[in-house]
Symmetry: D2
Subunit: 332 residues, 4 copies
């Protein structure tokens, strides 16, 4: 349930205020060079930090290798990497125990796990675990790079504005939080990755993408706009034997399979649930409504921190497809 992938299999674990969060990766080929330094650029990107609109928890997030690496290279045995939780203050959570934060999983987690869940800071449901995804993505990107394939995500709009500053300002003015749209592109994929039906590239990618907290939608190529197009306008004409097409409305996937054009998709990110505005919520002990307000500072717009996480899950999925693909023609 906390694992994903068929050959390149990633397991994530940990809680927001537990001792650590981390990943286990099974199926990574032997011989891939891997050092702490490889992880730091993407980990820094995730932190946000200097960026307006983000308020990172102050964790240094140095990856601690526990298995699977020897002489700075992967060994073919499972990799385990931990990130320590240092900057946690859990004291306040106990008294807020029966007051679920609006938009968060507190209530459903309590129901599902019978009250045994670690509720501090969202526990296992926390966005803190996206550092695990980012770490898995670093390794997956290195694998894709050996095949000249590259993943890049960018923010398209904040609060409906392509001028991102303007979008953020809306939220600041309203003393509220705001959503956004992020786009991801993958270059250099070979033709033929993916399967018709259940293991289409869209299926597996969207599966991974919705593992990112706050994602509310995904669309490939022209996406929802395709629902308003004529067929003759939407079809991409194949230009030559490489499969390159004149347009790319399909977003690089036909029949569930990569077609040697750029893979393109977008995701919708909801506004940060922890808004500075006062809200009402249930107190499940008293059964009464209570006024709820978020203490401390929070992200104005969680979408700002999503691109590196989106790249990570995309790289995980495409590296796995790539590795699965290997088996197909070799035996005959």
């Amino acid at each position: 349930m906390n694992s994903f992938g068929r050959i390149f299999k990633v397991t994530i674990f940990g809680e927001s205020h537990g001792e650590s969060v981390g990943i286990n990766i099974d199926g990574c080929p032997a011989g891939l060079p891997l050092t702490v330094a490889d992880f730091m650029p993407d980990i820094e990107r995730r932190k946000g930090g200097q960026q307006k609109g983000t308020t990172p928890r102050k964790e240094d997030d140095i990856p601690i290798f526990k298995s699977g690496i020897f002489n700075d290279k992967t060994t073919g045995a499972p990799l385990t990497i931990l990130f320590e939780n240092k900057n946690t203050r859990s004291g306040d959570y106990e008294k807020q125990r029966s007051v679920p934060r609006p938009g968060h999983a507190d209530f459903v987690a309590h129901q599902k796990f019978g009250g045994f869940e670690d509720f501090r800071g969202g526990g296992h449901f926390s966005g803190r675990l996206t550092v695990c995804l980012v770490a898995a993505g670093v390794i997956a990107k290195k694998l894709l790079a050996t095949q000249q394939s590259e993943v890049a995500a960018t923010i398209l709009e904040i609060g409906g504005e392509s001028d991102l500053e303007k979008g953020l300002q809306k939220a600041i003015d309203a003393k509220d939080t705001i959503g956004g749209v992020v786009e991801c592109r993958v270059n250099g994929l070979p033709i033929g990755l993916g399967e018709p039906f259940f293991d289409s590239v869209e299926s597996v990618l969207s599966h991974a993408v919705f593992a990112i907290p706050a994602v509310r939608g995904v669309e490939f190529g022209t996406g929802f706009a395709a629902a308003r197009m004529f067929g003759s306008a939407h079809n991409d004409a194949i230009e030559d034997n490489t499969g390159k097409t004149r347009t790319n409305h399909a977003g690089g996937i036909v029949g569930g399979i990569t077609n040697n054009n750029e893979l393109v998709f977008r995701i919708a990110i909801k506004p940060t649930s922890s808004t500075p505005k006062e809200q009402t919520t249930l107190n499940w002990e008293t059964g009464e409504q209570e006024i709820f307000s978020v203490k401390g500072r929070h992200d104005l717009c969680i979408a700002l921190r999503v691109p590196v996480v989106l790249e990570a899950v995309t790289a995980m999925v495409m590296a796995d497809f790539y590795m699965l693909q290997q088996h197909i023609k070799r035996i005959i």
Copy 2:
């Protein structure tokens, strides 16, 4: 690769112009009443037929039970159901072999399977296989019904018009095909189905949804519109200890887990690729562009036939979640 589900596991097989298409279902509980008549209403819905804008292949599509049923009930052993292909005319395909239809998988299938694929009518990539999904859905719906849960999908718009006739007329006037948007709702789900991260309800549902040919996007609750909302407006306030919320922007899922509100999501369907308009495409033998035009009649708008297929994959996924859920609290 052609299987889906963890406990309720569905495998689909067959080709458009082969002898048959069919499904195997493993993990269906014993004792569920099941007859041919149970399948016919949804199979008729899929055919379209009388509906303006659809031109069904004339198949009677009577399910043929090959295993797993005894005395009109499931036995607990794997179910196999075939649908014969009777109304096939494959004569013309050979001469069009090297001219991939625009918007179809012909070219990538040829590349992926080295020319060994059954290319007649799209072969294994054909929309013909959605009858398999519908059949699996009939069984899954019966399982959900034992839990007072029900799935229903409706068309929201055709060609951007909520007046569907108007949308279809656009395509007729343009002598072209057109896309649409379909919404799905599930009532009666218990709180607590799904997992944080990789096995979130959104992850698994979207995985299945993109197995339906022609789907280009999926959004849950307010979906892409959430990207333009403020947090205070998007959060759904919990009203009482059942988890019911005042609004349902989340679409019934929080933290990847059902929250006892209606599950709501929408999908975008691209316009039918086989349009009456002339188009250019590659002839991969000559390497030249050719004029391509579709012979015979085709669906004006494939979205018209999608609702019953969408209900089917949704029911498969939610029945599987339901069955997985059983194990969690029992052991202690």
Copy 3:
């Protein structure tokens, strides 16, 4: 639950007295030549027939291809093959319903599936389904043959006698049934298949081997005799850089991984449960003991028909390992 394999995935289905039994295979590479004639030699071997000590049900067992084959070659899409059940007489089973046959699964099946199981002739538990395994094995053997690898199983002893005629005569004289030991060898496997721990070659092979009804034990290389050996005698000295060893006590597997020596293992087969001798069993309706005797003729020794089934599951497993292996070094 009725599927096995990670890349080359086999699903079996059907019941002894239902309409048919069959297999679905997903993950078979495209382009493998495959005709009905390829199946007949192994299907004939399974039947026994002329062999003393076997009494086959008279089924012609012609494989009926339902999907995945085009122009006598595999297409890369899932294969479905049916075998019709023609020679069934189910009339008598209803009245014996509450009298479970000693040594058979009748009682546990009834408990597990709540009485909904197809009980005729053992239903889904029947040895009839081994024809499915044999069919999967035919395909797997063809895949292995492309790699110059070959599987062969032989009977080592019947009733403790290496003179097999003598062993069978024991059973004939005693008017009873008898067990046996079968050995399997695989040549031509590359070094490096398998994994340490959970996916060791022994783990996966034994998993598949115990899917064959009547198997009671499995041992690799010197097997149980190794428990009585000194380490210096058991260790196989490596002779050269190919990995060939002077002796082969390990049976071709070290640390769970093939070592470029012949793979060798043996299985124990219990005596046929349906013995001509009278026995007592429970009548679960009356709660009383009853005298039970088998009507008609049965196999004296089921081990006689096991070698081709053992070859089949072994080929399935090793073809799957082979296909998994492909991914490992390619990406870097």
Copy 4:
């Protein structure tokens, strides 16, 4: 590849001389009490230590909880437990790099992982990882205990002697190592666990059992002796409606399914590969044979340390079967 289980899913990782070894368990129900003290009895049993014939590495093996536990109870989120490697001396391994130890995986690991494997002390192939299995077993046993089910393994013979002292003395006298046989019994299992064919209890148990290093064979009930029995003698007569049988030649499993009798099976353990005797092996750099002798003290008989490991994997498998079983009847 390093994971096992369908609902109760165990992943192991680590290397003999790396920083740590450990496990991740996904699917453990919430609310199970779990403290360090729960682990110590089985961890002590594995060490051997005081036992004649064992020479444990001096590790304290205190489990370090990294995730999934809160207030001394499981939370339903994935559990991660580490065991630090403190007592390692790796200095000598580099110079022995090209001389594979007879009976060990050094040569195949080198071939499989292209020289990138962590070779120190066997790396990921080391018996050191059985502490991970033991830890998973502790949790699985606690789950089974909630269902009144209990697992116990005992040594049956050493070097062919049921007087174990005598068996060990043989090895001491011969200045060699020796093998043994271990039996495992499980009480209190409900009727109906397991499936016919691929997921038979024997299939899944043997899969897990061969994950234990040095196992060369497994047999259920009368096992290999059944191959020499008559059918009338081997069949177990059912005595009453609970399914209890007069004899238990089947070892508690019929048709792959538990039958409410004691589960009984035995495994063969080869003699410790690291024998004090001098042996020859290949030097893969020179291509020449070399005299090889083991430095330091090693286990006389690895079978002595196996029972607790065998209990562990058995408990893992049966807890998983138990959890899978839950889903079956609930939905209808």
